[in-house]
Symmetry: C2
Subunit: 297 residues, 2 copies
């Protein structure tokens, strides 16, 4: 293996550990009352994960010249929102999933009531963490609150989940499924890249380019996930597979070859945007390549 | 009826209408996609309500010298959080309620999935509204985000709901039930009064006194609600009654006379705090009296 690849993997591993530690620090102690709530929050948030969203925020801000991890707390807030959305999606009233990251889903472990409240508490904690973010001016914190709320709201995760549950049908076209993926998955990648830019004090056009990069990466990532969901076994992805059987995805609508081709279109657009950001050979560019390579398409 | 009482009622009515209009303006249009989500948000948020929390924020800021309605949007954010918490509390996995404010609960009208997502979207929208609050400096907006998150979090609404569902038992003492009420009901009244102070740029000791006032008012209000829940019919309160049968409340633990006495203790503390704030004869003081009188104890 090329030495640079090994070095990049080590860098990502270091950031993963940094994020994991900070996530743990930002949660209320699991033995503090109400202990059951705090245990459920920790169970979902601290489960093994790739921490792609916080790392994207950190890599982006570093590329723009931040010498310290100013995006760490806001990145952790993204991971809290992500964990909150996974708990929600898995509920019996939604996807009714039994496994997530190789473990029983939160509602199977803690009951629907506590899982649901843990999800709300994680979303709420994300805003609290941003509000208390050390070393960031109030103006940057407020911009991040707004970016986070956009990612969650009716044009983001929540709106995407409503469409997923109520409007996903075999009549949906590629463009509609891409829009849905943009809301459900793209939104938090957009927010991650934007947060990196805000923290670094980047001008508006750069933040716009970063958002596009986040969107393309998120869309590529979701296609990979859809294809994996169709073909892999639970032990490979650590979550229920086949949950989307009967639901059209880009994988089912375009077929495996068509979905792969679309994945590579998004990957190519990521690379064009990295050139615009002069990041193609930088750590940020190599991190994006690392993410794309993980999809193994 | 005394002319001043009529004038005060008219003032409260004017503020209610102001809040109702602004709540409507701050929601996404009900016909904008995803329409079902936006309809569910409007259904719950715009249902008839007393708007006590936003009005408390407005009255407090006015008492401290704000000549314009600078607390209006943050007050509306409180009402969004309140509506979100009612949807959540009513879910089958929680209180399993059928009626709320005289109408079918959100999940009976829109399904559990959409009701739940509307609740999350309202909570999220609250933070978005504060972040975008016009005419407030970024520092004030960030303080309000923090106050809101404190009110929702594991020492506020969410923590209170976990205790309510999992720890409320006949062994609970008066002090524990008061703590629970402080989390479930007091928290948003505390936030309302604090927001009024923040918006007005009040010094920290004044904000502390305002929080105490909010807490005492919230506790008084919850005792009144517990007593009503035990003795009234659905058509009087517009929600299911007897839902707390079997669950101890201050009403059941202290008996009606004891609960009334405790209500009056909290009311007396409200009046003491109003004196501290030099608000006993001002519009703020009269509004608090109006709220206490509504409990009709």
């Amino acid at each position: 293996m090329h030495a640079a690849v090994i070095a990049d993997r080590a860098a990502v591993g270091t950031l993963e550990a940094l994020v994991d530690q900070r996530l743990s620090d930002l949660l209320p102690a699991a033995d503090q009352p109400p202990a059951l709530l705090h245990q459920a929050m920790a169970y979902s948030l601290l489960a093994r994960g790739k921490r792609m969203r916080p790392i994207l925020a950190l890599m982006t801000s570093a590329h723009l010249g931040c010498r310290r991890h100013l995006a760490l707390d806001a990145g952790c807030a993204l991971e809290m929102v992500h964990a909150a959305s996974l708990i929600m999606d898995d509920l019996p009233a939604m996807d009714d999933a039994e496994l997530r990251r190789g473990q029983p889903t939160a509602h199977r472990r803690f009951g629907v009531d506590v899982a649901l409240l843990a999800s709300v508490a994680l979303l709420n904690r994300a805003f609290a963490v941003v509000a208390a973010s050390p070393d960031l001016p109030a103006e940057a914190r407020i911009q991040i609150v707004a970016v986070l709320a956009d990612a969650v709201g009716s044009q983001g995760l929540v709106g995407g989940q409503v469409l997923d549950l109520r409007a996903r049908s075999s009549h949906m076209r590629e463009s509609e499924l891409e829009q849905l993926n943009g809301m459900k998955t793209g939104a938090l990648f957009v927010a991650a890249a934007a947060i990196g830019g805000i923290v670094a004090g980047a001008p508006a056009p750069v933040i716009e380019t970063l958002k596009q990069l986040g969107r393309e990466l998120g869309l590529a990532f979701q296609i990979a996930d859809d294809i994996l969901d169709g073909v892999e076994f639970a032990h490979a992805t650590g979550k229920d597979t086949g949950k989307d059987v009967g639901k059209p995805t880009l994988g089912s609508v375009l077929g495996p070859a068509g979905a792969r081709a679309l994945f590579h279109e998004h990957a190519a657009r990521c690379r064009d945007l990295l050139v615009t950001l002069d990041a193609q050979d930088a750590a940020l560019g190599r991190f994006i390549e690392h993410c794309l390579a993980q999809a193994n398409l």
